[in-house]
């Protein structure tokens, strides 16, 4: 009991991290794509809990609202759209993609190792106070995000709107019944 209370944060973190990884493995392990999507949803929610543990409450709320809400709907629609049936395991599992998968894994490991050694990803990051400071005064996490985002990271914020615009127009172009682009401004045909 004493051990539990003394190491409560560590126990919570490793439990949540293990659950996140387990549900992420489930995404690729399940045969049924809808089961994979449910597993991905669980993974998103555990990541949100990890954000809460790092005192990033705003990110946690966004994770639930956007990823568990919006992105999941998108994934489920795509699963329904592309007519995926139960696939043969040898047909999909690393069919000719093994070198790419290994390379991606090694690169990710190298990136994490570099970040760890460079100190920006170390076991002790900025404390909870740093995530709620506004102009030298302690406020909330959402306020701190707003203060940084709309002053220091002004250009990335405006670029986001262009990225969203491109996503929207791209979806409309791809979603047209006649995929050709012969006449501009044509309305969608039934």
């Amino acid at each position: 009991m004493e051990f539990l209370t003394a190491h409560f944060v560590e126990i919570m973190f490793y439990t949540l991290a293990a659950l996140t990884v387990a549900s992420a493995v489930g995404v690729v392990a399940f045969r049924n794509p809808v089961h994979s999507a449910i597993s991905l949803l669980a993974s998103f929610l555990f990541v949100a809990a990890l954000f809460v543990m790092r005192h990033a409450e705003f990110l946690a709320a966004v994770q639930v609202l956007v990823y568990a809400g919006g992105i999941m709907v998108l994934f489920l629609f795509v699963i329904m759209l592309v007519n995926v049936k139960r696939l043969d395991p040898e047909q999909v599992f690393l069919s000719g993609k093994a070198p790419a998968a290994v390379a991606a894994g090694v690169l990710l490991g190298a990136l994490i190792a570099f970040g760890y050694l460079a100190g920006s990803l170390g076991p002790v990051g900025p404390g909870p106070e740093a995530l709620r400071m506004v102009d030298g005064a302690v406020a909330g996490n959402t306020e701190a995000v707003g203060w940084l985002l709309y002053r220091q990271y002004l250009v990335p914020f405006e670029v986001v709107s262009v990225v969203l615009l491109v996503a929207m127009i791209g979806a409309i172009i791809f979603g047209r019944r006649d995929a050709g682009l012969e006449e501009g401004g044509g309305r969608m045909e039934q």
Partner: protein, 118 residues
């Protein structure tokens, strides 16, 4: 961390409630399945294929993408709204530029008929 205990308890209850309900229903219900009982009764038409063999219209995807885009836009409004007074006019102009760029996409979607279903 202690203030999250009610949320954890709430989540546990919310997750276990449907599971327990289904288990209780499975334990107490009378089991006499018949194919006729599974047919649509006075509503809908008999299904010809399972959900996976049916291909859905691309319009669902379009609606989902537009939903996600405007969802993300709304998320960016939250930290701006709570800091509205401190960010003052600079923040206001900044957000209007952001909204104006997205309004272009909204007008484009509208003009292209992407918001119409029929």
């Amino acid at each position: 961390m202690v203030q999250y205990v009610p949320i954890v308890l709430f989540t546990l209850v919310a997750v276990s409630f449907p599971i327990v309900t289904l288990l209780i229903a499975k334990a107490v219900r009378a089991g006499s399945p018949h194919p006729v009982k599974g047919e649509p009764y006075e509503c809908g038409v008999p299904a010809t294929t399972t959900a996976f063999e049916t291909r859905f219209s691309i319009r669902y995807y379009l609606i989902a993408v537009l939903f996600v885009v405007f969802d993300v836009e709304t998320i960016f409004l939250f930290p701006w709204a709570v800091m509205f007074e401190k960010l003052a006019l600079f923040g206001f102009i900044e957000m209007m530029v952001f909204l104006a760029i997205l309004l272009v996409g909204y007008v484009y979607a509208w003009r292209r008929g992407a918001l119409e279903w029929a």
